[in-house]
């Protein structure tokens, strides 16, 4: 199926509700889907359904799984047209962005047939269970274990930082299936229905006051062996594939982590009277435009057939640090007014600032990213 930019443009103009053409203000504007999903507005529902009919919830997935079967280049045309009118994604989920690609690469035909359409249709909401209290940056030291009980695994342990686990239907997890093997070996990638007895979650209150993350507990949870993705004890391969995929999305601008114009706009509005603050914003603007140029350059090089590889770590590091810097400066720009933290306040300067502190921790800490840059891009020795 070839895609025609003109046709897409017309279709979007006709079918994308006006309300769905404004930037998402926060979680309340995101369409997540799932068993317990209730649309937040008629426009959201309409937009979701219209996209679904064309396979545009997952444009690059094969049609048999509910996608539109677009190539990457074709999908880029669609995305560009959507960006042009500021259209929101019809459906957002970790099933689309993370599990789907992993299943397409590692899943059995049965797994693909079972899970992919339900993701595409927004019927099942997924969450990710990687980190544990004792396994953060050092993920390979994870301790949640899955014992072989013949036809099923018995899973016991605890995950942390599972995004929206309290709202999710299923979770994809890294679990230890072999205690004798060394660290990365002996880990498997399994899918667990959150409705299984023994699964429980507890939201984590963040410093911003929000609770997008949970602790997730597994207490003698029985998981059918058919839910193992990839080979037994080789879940690390699946996780690594996903991680690369995730960081490449950042490179492609697929992350909303980073808004290269937000600081300028705020500064132009407020026009900082303080010359020192203005100087700091100006330098941050220069660094931000330069970083954005690197992100685009790498993306163009990949589009020309290059490999992004470990450069994704560079982008992750710098994007996160610049975003933190932007929020620090936005707070300074807001002055004392930015300190209000109650019901009456202006929307979210302080919340945004506090939330941004996690950017350099989640998805690989800045320290781990710099280790990767040094060792893999610069080839510096371990000794």
């Amino acid at each position: 199926m070839a895609i025609d930019a003109h046709e897409i443009r017309n279709w979007l103009e006709a079918e994308c509700p006006v309300e769905m053409r404004a930037a998402t203000r926060g979680d309340e504007d995101v369409c997540w889907g799932g068993r317990r999903w209730a649309f937040q507005s008629p426009a959201q529902k309409l937009w979701f359904e219209r996209c679904l009919a064309r396979g545009f919830t997952v444009p690059t997935w094969p049609r048999e799984y509910g996608g539109a079967g677009l190539s990457r280049d074709e999908a880029d045309v669609l995305y560009a047209e959507m960006r042009r009118i500021g259209a929101r994604p019809p459906l957002t989920s970790f099933g689309i962005s993370m599990l789907g690609p992993a299943l397409l690469a590692f899943g059995t035909p049965a797994q693909k047939a079972e899970h992919l359409p339900r993701i595409a249709l927004g019927q099942i909401r997924w969450c990710q269970g990687y980190s544990e209290p004792g396994a953060g940056s050092d993920l390979a030291s994870l301790a949640t274990r899955a014992e072989d009980k013949g036809d099923h695994f018995l899973v016991n342990g605890q995950k942390i930082w599972t995004s929206y686990a309290d709202k999710a239907d299923w979770i994809f997890c890294l679990v230890r299936t072999n205690r004798d093997a060394k660290k990365q070996l002996g880990i498997s990638f399994v899918l667990i229905d959150m409705a299984t007895p023994g699964v429980s979650t507890r939201p984590i209150v963040l410093i911003s006051g929000k609770s997008p993350f949970c602790e997730t507990f597994f207490d003698d949870v029985a998981v059918p062996k058919g839910n193992l993705v990839g080979k037994l004890d080789r879940g690390w391969d699946v996780a690594k594939y996903l991680l690369t995929h995730e960081r490449e999305m950042i490179a492609g601008g697929g992350s909303n982590l980073f808004d290269s114009h937000a600081l300028d706009k705020a500064a132009a509005q407020v026009r900082p009277k303080d010359p020192i603050l203005r100087a700091k914003i100006a330098e941050a603007a220069v660094d931000t435009y330069a970083f954005d140029a690197t992100r685009r350059r790498y993306s163009d090089e990949v589009a020309r057939g290059g490999e992004l590889g470990a450069r994704s770590a560079l982008l992750k590091y710098d994007g996160a640090e610049l975003n933190k810097r932007r929020h620090e400066l936005a707070m300074s720009l807001a002055g004392a007014d930015g300190l209000y933290f109650d019901g009456n306040r202006e929307p979210g300067v302080a919340e945004g600032w506090l939330r941004s502190k996690g950017n350099s921790i989640e998805g690989g800490t800045s320290e781990v990213m710099l280790d990767i840059v040094a060792k893999r891009l610069l080839d510096l020795p371990a000794d």
Binding site: S137, L206, I207, D274, I276, L277, A336, I361
Partner: protein, 364 residues
């Protein structure tokens, strides 16, 4: 000498022990909740008993007279456990204003009650941006006060207000009864749980005895004292956050090592330590200069507030990062220090504002 004498050391040590006991971080967590007053009257009474609320009040008015350095030492200790109390509003701002600019009658009326922690006196200075500038108009026989003030610390529970107002004779501080006709207020909560009020004054009548005779000089002195004491508070925040982070670095293991053994983190911890040390040194210089009446005091205060504000913000952010994911949770204390640092750094002029003043004072 940039050292503490015996009395000062004693004050600091007893405050550290006393504050930790009377107002630990768990107490802060209780007090920050929106339903309460945002501070503990019991702890404020303790401040009275210990002579802390009278730190800037002379002995003749029932105070302990430890001076600005004493106030800074107390603020630094109180910051370590994120204490919420009217110390800054009443014991520092109001006492400094009355001490520097009050008439004998004004001092006699308020200073003993401040020293005994029997009154809460708030200081209203910041004109609301876009609001009315606060003016005192002479309409014989009395004056009328008009305007709007923001960020009035403890304004929600104040027994009296000291308001800065423009007059035909320059800026003056005026004592205002918050219950007077034409005064209205709204309570707000800051990101560190602190309460402030926004005050509106509409045709509020004040008589001539409400004006502090000290005028503009008293205002400048009060602001400088507040800035130096806030710098000291910021130092306490940064020091304590860093102390806890060092403990964490020595405990937390990843990759089969204590994370504090990673050289990159060691060097960054070293830089944080240097920032904290320099911030406290600059603050000590400023506190001493205010006590000795040195010519350099205004400059020293600007250096201290700029340095301590920046150091506190940067160091607490480093501390959070070094905690990794748990640092992002409200259950861990390190994020509380990040928030408090931002508030201390911002009130009465942030790092950039005071760096600009430094440059201007140096002639460039």
């Amino acid at each position: 000498m940039l050292t503490l004498d015996e009395d000062q050391t004693l004050l600091m040590d007893s405050a550290r022990a006393g504050v930790a006991q009377a107002s630990p971080v768990s107490e802060y967590r209780r007090l920050r909740e929106p339903q309460g007053e945002g501070f503990s009257r019991r702890f404020w009474a303790t401040c009275g008993e210990m002579g802390w609320s009278g730190v800037l009040v002379d002995e003749a008015h029932g105070g302990s007279g430890f001076g600005v350095l004493g106030a800074g030492l107390l603020a630094r200790e109180m910051a370590r456990t994120l204490t919420l109390s009217p110390f800054l509003s009443t014991a520092v701002l109001a006492a400094a204003a009355l001490g520097a600019g009050g008439s004998p009658a004004q001092r006699q009326e308020w200073l003993p009650r401040i020293a005994a922690a029997e009154a809460i006196v708030a200081f209203a200075h910041e004109d609301t941006p876009g609001g009315w500038p606060t003016m005192a108009h002479l309409e014989s026989p009395d004056f009328r006060l008009e305007g709007e003030k923001s960020f009035v610390l403890d304004g929600h529970v104040a027994d009296a207000l000291i308001v800065s107002a423009r007059t035909d004779n320059g800026p003056y501080l005026v004592l205002v009864d918050p219950k007077a006709n034409g005064v209205s207020r709204q309570t707000r909560i800051l990101v560190d749980g602190r309460r402030v009020a926004t005050y509106r004054f509409e045709g509020v009548e004040v008589d001539e005895f409400a004006f502090l005779p000290g005028g503009a000089l008293a205002l400048e002195r009060t602001l400088d004292v507040a800035r130096a004491v806030l710098a000291a508070s910021a130092c306490g925040v940064a020091e304590e956050a860093f102390r806890r982070t060092l403990e964490y670095l020595k405990e937390r293991r990843q990759f089969d090592r204590r994370i504090g053994s990673f050289q990159a983190l060691q060097h960054r911890a070293g830089l944080a330590h240097i920032a904290v040390e320099n911030a406290w040194s600059a603050t000590l210089v400023a506190l001493q200069a205010l006590d000795s009446g040195a010519n350099s005091a205004a400059f020293d205060v600007a250096v201290a507030k700029s340095k301590a504000s920046r150091a506190a913000q940067e160091v607490t952010a480093e501390c959070l990062q070094m905690h990794g994911g748990v640092g992002m949770t409200d259950a861990f204390d390190v994020g509380l220090y990040l928030k408090r640092a931002r508030v201390d750094a911002t009130l009465f002029g942030d790092a950039a504002f005071h760096a600009d003043r430094v440059a201007t004072m140096l002639g460039y």
